[in-house]
């Protein structure tokens, strides 16, 4: 079962069987916008998309979630999200992004109970990319259209059937559990298909060195220049699978308050504003520098890896075409000596 395939005709039946044991989530399309949501039947699944508009991170870090409630007398923790879930059809970059989020929400210093519970209860059945978009650049960041990092089961769309490969023990158990839908061997085809897919990537940057280059650039006057057209809308972060900043805010209830955690973004004007009124990042250039430095300098220093998986969502969605690939390319192209001046 660790390496087999499933005829697409069986997808409906398979989903019904899985739904009996798990909550099933997958990509859904609405007027060209693909987001992840609960899937009730196979025809709701949009499995031919290139990449979802919003990343699958929202299944682990929801846009808003209640942390606890104070009812006027007692603090009541919100129940942990214990339900068992399967996410079907997310892309390898989104799975890899979750391994990066682990470094923040499930690490030595912090175990975020909501995040950790969701991660532990969720099987990731990813769909490899045979048609990367021209704005995808996962290979530049160390990922791959057939990448397996963070993936439990990897699927590959072969036309009439899905090839399926268990990557983790959890994936193996999952494929065994639904063994009757899978048959035959697909071995041998994987390497060839993966090679064809990565051959279609168009971005030839190698981002391993960006972190070092950024070391001397904090005070550089480039930030003002490169961020001039940025309108601080936060679209890039909201869609990004590795951006995780959040805000804690009180919602009034009839008798007390609910503590809500919601997405936040370092590009927002109020993000770093102190209660005193002082703002350490009062202008767009400072906020934009923070975004790039966090992803490509602080994060690699702390966790060893850039906090970008090259999904290209920010590239596609930025309303002013501020293309992060171009920016990183320029930083890499600048003479190293200039960078450390």
């Amino acid at each position: 079962m660790a390496d087999s395939k499933m005829a697409k005709a069986k997808l409906g039946e398979f989903l019904a069987a899985v739904s009996a044991d798990y909550e099933v989530y997958g990509p859904k399309a609405d007027n060209g916008v693909v987001t992840f949501g609960r899937i009730a039947s196979a025809d709701e699944l949009a499995l031919t998309y290139s990449n979802s508009t919003v990343s699958a991170k929202e299944l682990f870090l929801p846009k808003t979630e209640t942390v606890y409630e104070f009812d006027g007398e007692n603090f009541v923790d919100d129940p942990l999200p214990e339900q068992k879930r399967v996410v079907l059809g997310l892309r390898p970059c989104d799975c890899r992004a979750l391994t990066l989020l682990d470094g923040t929400f499930d690490c030595e210093r912090v175990q975020d109970p909501f995040y950790v519970t969701r991660r532990a209860n969720t099987v990731l059945v990813a769909l490899a990319c045979d048609r990367p978009l021209s704005s995808c650049f996962c290979t530049a960041t160390g990922g791959d259209p057939y990448g397996e990092e963070g993936v439990d089961v990897l699927l590959s769309d072969e036309g009439e059937s899905f090839l399926a490969k268990a990557v983790t023990d959890r994936g193996k158990d999952f494929l065994e559990q639904y063994g009757k839908f899978f048959s035959g061997k697909a071995a041998g085809k994987w390497a060839e298909r993966a090679k064809a897919a990565s051959g279609k990537m168009t971005c030839d940057l190698s981002l391993a060195e960006v972190s070092q280059r950024l070391d001397g650039l904090f005070e550089d006057d480039m930030w003002e220049r490169v961020s001039q057209k940025c309108i601080g809308c936060g679209t890039c972060s909201y869609l990004c699978p590795t951006c995780y900043c959040f805000d804690l805010i009180d919602d009034k209830t009839a008798t007390g308050v609910k503590k809500i955690r919601r997405w936040d973004c370092c590009m927002f004007q109020s993000f770093a504003l102190h209660a005193s009124g002082h703002d350490p990042r009062p202008i767009t250039a400072a906020r934009f520098r923070q975004k790039i430095m966090h992803k490509f300098n602080y994060h690699p220093q702390r966790c060893g890896l850039n906090s970008c998986v090259g999904c290209g969502r920010c590239v596609r969605a930025c309303p002013v075409n501020l293309d992060i690939r171009q920016l990183l390319g320029d930083i890499l192209a600048a003479a190293p000596s200039a960078a450390s001046e």
């Binding site: 609405d30 007027n31 060209g32 916008v33 987001t35 998309y49 290139s50 508009t53 919003v54 846009k63 808003t64 979630e65 209640t66 048609r131 978009l133 021209s134 704005s135 001039q228 057209k229 309108i231 601080g232 809308c233 936060g234 679209t235 909201y238 869609l239 805010i249 009180d250 919602d251 009034k252 609910k258 809500i260 919601r262 997405w263 973004c265 927002f268 004007q269 109020s270 002082h278 703002d279 009062p282 202008i283 767009t284 590239v315 596609r316 969605a317 309303p319 002013v320 075409n321 501020l322 293309d323 690939r325 171009q326």
Partner: protein
């Protein structure tokens, strides 16, 4: 001379003569069917400026930013002298900003350019059912588009017009200092349909239902606000913490509150450029509702924003003949 060459020459001259410190225009984008806003400060750099059918952004959004120095500077620099390239919609926004004192007229050089309606990559994706537009080549109103599979399709540019451009009747700025090329006269919309009219005709309860269902897709990033030239408030009501007007966003009511707040602030000011809709990362159709505002301003107050510097915005003045029907008889 092509419009593009003329833009470059004009910008270069203004910079070389020291008449402006900065020219805001468009540069080549990194994606097909996209041009990117750009900021030119030296005459040597004017070659970066382009003019094509993809210069869709409303550049007026940058003006209030140009004239808002870092709030923590003890001695803010003097306000810059700025030239801005404007289509009809940008030009109307600039007029609004001048009237609302967000951009000093004497510091502006408004350069009006002709617009045939801009083309939108997202519309092209929808029309062709494509995931990505890889290349687009326009010749005489026909656009040859290559999608992610390599398939080429030739489409009439009218089909690819950005939604706002399909409805636009003022494709040239009314207030300007210099013109380039021949400005188009006010005219009938290029390719309207009745989808927005259909909304305006609905009974109030149905309007509300459509509004709530559309707005429920919103992720409250407020990019629609950031992209809007009219939304220049130093601190938006939606971001204020003392007092805190908005809930966390966990309830649909919070989202409705944000959108009603923003929409009301746009009444009689929105120029229908569509920047908010195009900025939305999740495709919320805000235009249906802003369109209604524009129509209301026209029908109730006989007012179209952004056409002259003198006429007072309708919601800032009281006239004995003002319509009251929307209060007494909202249906």
């Amino acid at each position: 001379m092509s419009v593009q060459d003329d833009i470059r020459q004009t910008a270069g001259q203004l910079l070389a003569d020291g008449k402006v410190d900065l020219v805001i225009g468009f540069a080549e984008g990194t994606l097909a069917m996209k041009a990117a806003p750009c900021f030119i400060t030296a005459a040597d750099d004017v070659e970066q400026l382009v003019w094509n059918s993809f210069c869709l952004n409303n550049l007026a959004v940058y003006l209030s930013r140009c004239f808002t120095p870092d709030p923590q500077l003890r001695e803010p620099p003097p306000p810059p002298k700025v030239a801005v390239i404007v289509k009809g919609c940008d030009g109307r926004s600039v007029v609004g900003l001048i009237k609302e004192q967000q951009a000093p007229r004497e510091n502006l050089t408004i350069i009006a350019v002709p617009c045939d309606g801009m083309l939108d990559a997202d519309v092209a994706r929808r029309v062709l059912g494509a995931e990505e537009i890889v290349a687009a080549d326009e010749v005489d109103g026909a656009v040859k588009i290559t999608d992610e599979t390599g398939k080429e399709t030739t489409v009439d540019r009218k089909e690819l017009l950005a939604e706002a451009c399909r409805f636009c009747t003022h494709r040239a700025a009314a207030v300007y200092d210099q013109t380039i090329g021949e400005l188009p006269a006010d005219a009938d919309p290029l390719a309207p349909d009745d989808q927005f009219e259909a909304y305006c005709q609905k009974p109030t309860a149905d309007k509300w239902r459509q509004f709530c269902s559309e707005i429920s897709k919103c992720v409250l990033c407020k990019a629609c606000r950031s992209a809007c030239p009219n939304c220049y408030c130093r601190t938006c009501f939606a971001d204020q913490t003392r007092p805190n007007w908005m809930g966390s966003g966990a309830k649909l009511g919070d989202v409705i509150f944000y959108h009603l707040g923003r929409l009301f602030h746009q009444a009689g000011r929105c120029v229908d450029c569509g920047a908010c809709v195009r900025a939305c990362p999740v495709g919320v159709d805000l235009r249906t509702f802003t369109y209604k505002l524009v129509e209301d301003a026209e029908q109730l107050f006989d007012f179209t924003p952004g056409l002259d510097l003198e006429q007072a915005p309708p919601l800032t003045v009281f006239a004995p003949g003002d319509s009251e029907n929307f209060i007494t008889d909202p249906e």
